[in-house]
């Protein structure tokens, strides 16, 4: 089972510089736990006890997971999870 997880520049120090890693799990929570096993400390940058960190946005196939159940969002083989830092609104 392979779920592609895209890592933003700012977190690549946890993945040995890799901008894309693979993981498995049936929910986002499981996926992050799986990644943490291989990329120590990554999970802690993404979430704390109360859930996803405020300035971290996670998208499942481009949709913000906060609208898909957050950490309980279901993920499956072939999905793409994108992690991005929260930024100010573009060219407003």
């Amino acid at each position: 089972m392979a779920i592609e997880v895209r890592i933003p520049t700012i977190l690549r120090s946890y993945t040995g510089g890799e901008k894309s890693v693979e993981g498995s799990g049936s929910t986002l929570d499981e996926l992050f736990a799986d990644l943490d096993g291989r990329y120590d400390g990554l999970r802690e940058r993404l979430m704390d006890d109360s859930g996803l960190r405020r300035f971290i946005n996670v998208y499942l196939n481009d949709e913000d997971v906060r609208f898909l159940g957050g950490l309980s969002a279901q993920v499956s083989d072939g999905d793409t999870v994108t992690v991005l830092p929260a930024v100010a609104g573009g060219a407003s």
């Binding site: 933003p8 520049t9 700012i10 940058r45 960190r53 405020r54 300035f55 971290i56 946005n57 998208y59 481009d62 949709e63 913000d64 906060r66 609208f67 994108t82 991005l84 830092p85 929260a86 930024v87 100010a88 609104g89 573009g90 060219a91 407003s92």
Partner: protein
């Protein structure tokens, strides 16, 4: 239509159907043309409301300096209002925005302070906040947290949409300060049961996300997740492709954020069609394509255009 002055002609924009891009007669896309505003963008609504609120609160006097972190449209809107209402405007803007924006701002008489490209709008906000701290007499309207921004849409954009499209099922707009989505979204949710409020968020290149650390991330103070039904991240390649489709299929010469919005709207349309449900999806066309011509978005191959957008704040 007749107005006493240019600022009075803000809002009241046309809603046009997109018959060629709409999947079927039952699933229809509609475009609200916000380029039909005094300075050519949806920001004219927020700018007029924010300045009016500041005047009402006694924050502005003739000759007052208004300071604002803005990459363009808000600055241009504020530049017009400042010019006509007798204020000075200083914009803090990242250096990697299109040249048309700077030229327009300067033409209206605004001053610009450039913030470093790396760190994008986050850095512009930080620099502006620093400057506001140093100059207590400067007024920062702060579009990211000013309730008058969202209220402009609650009081104008939302009611206009409801009047023109009472059968609306989805509202799709770009996510920036979140003012358009929060204000229009709140209004529509109060009046249209089951309406979907969908955010289309531009996904930029790595330079823009080059933040020093994660605590420097930013969520606009106006942003209230509960107003949205869903939120989509749209890559520049998709935004560009859709912007070109708007032009080639519907003759609509729109800015790149509109391509971003169309991409999300088409996703909703496909979903409705698959479910066998009717849909009337209203999208915000925030501005026209003029300010983006120099980005190369409308000419050459898509790959070339995408490469040129890399590192730029394209929406």
């Amino acid at each position: 239509m007749r107005y006493d002055s240019l600022l009075d002609a803000t809002g009241g924009t046309p809603l046009v159907g997109l018959p060629r891009l709409s999947p079927s007669p039952e699933v229809r896309l509609w475009a609200k043309l916000e380029d039909r505003n005094p300075t050519g963008s949806v920001k004219d609504r927020a700018a007029t409301f924010m300045v009016a609120a500041a005047e009402k609160d006694g924050l502005l006097r003739p000759g007052s300096v208004i300071l604002e972190p803005t990459s363009g449209n808000t600055g241009i809107s504020l530049a017009l209002v400042a010019r006509l209402r007798g204020y000075q405007l200083i914009c803090v803007m990242p250096e990697n925005t299109s040249v048309e924006r700077r030229m327009l701002l300067e033409a209206y008489g605004a001053s610009i302070i450039f913030s470093p490209a790396a760190g994008g709008s986050n850095e512009a906000v930080r620099v502006a906040q620093g400057l506001a701290g140093e100059h207590s007499d400067w007024v920062m309207l702060y579009q990211y947290g000013n309730e008058a921004n969202a209220r402009a849409h609650y009081e104008t954009t939302g009611p206009e949409l409801l009047a023109d499209l009472p059968e609306i099922t989805h509202f799709v707009a770009g996510l920036g300060t979140s003012g358009t989505l929060m204000g229009t979204g709140r209004f529509l949710r109060e009046h249209v049961p089951g309406v979907q409020i969908v955010a289309a968020e531009p996904r930029y290149g790595e330079l823009v996300y080059g933040l020093r650390n994660l605590s420097e991330g930013f969520v606009p103070e106006l942003y209230d997740e509960s107003v949205l039904t869903s939120r989509f991240s749209v890559a520049s390649s998709d935004a560009l492709r859709r912007t070109r489709e708007l032009l080639s299929e519907e003759g609509l010469f729109a800015g790149i954020s509109s391509g971003c919005v169309l991409h999300a709207a088409l996703g909703q349309a496909a979903k409705a069609q698959k479910a066998g449900e009717r849909a009337d999806i209203a999208m915000i066309i925030a501005d026209a394509g003029w300010k983006y011509l120099s980005t190369g978005a409308y000419g050459g191959t898509l790959e070339e255009a995408e490469a040129r957008l890399e590192g730029q704040l394209w929406a």
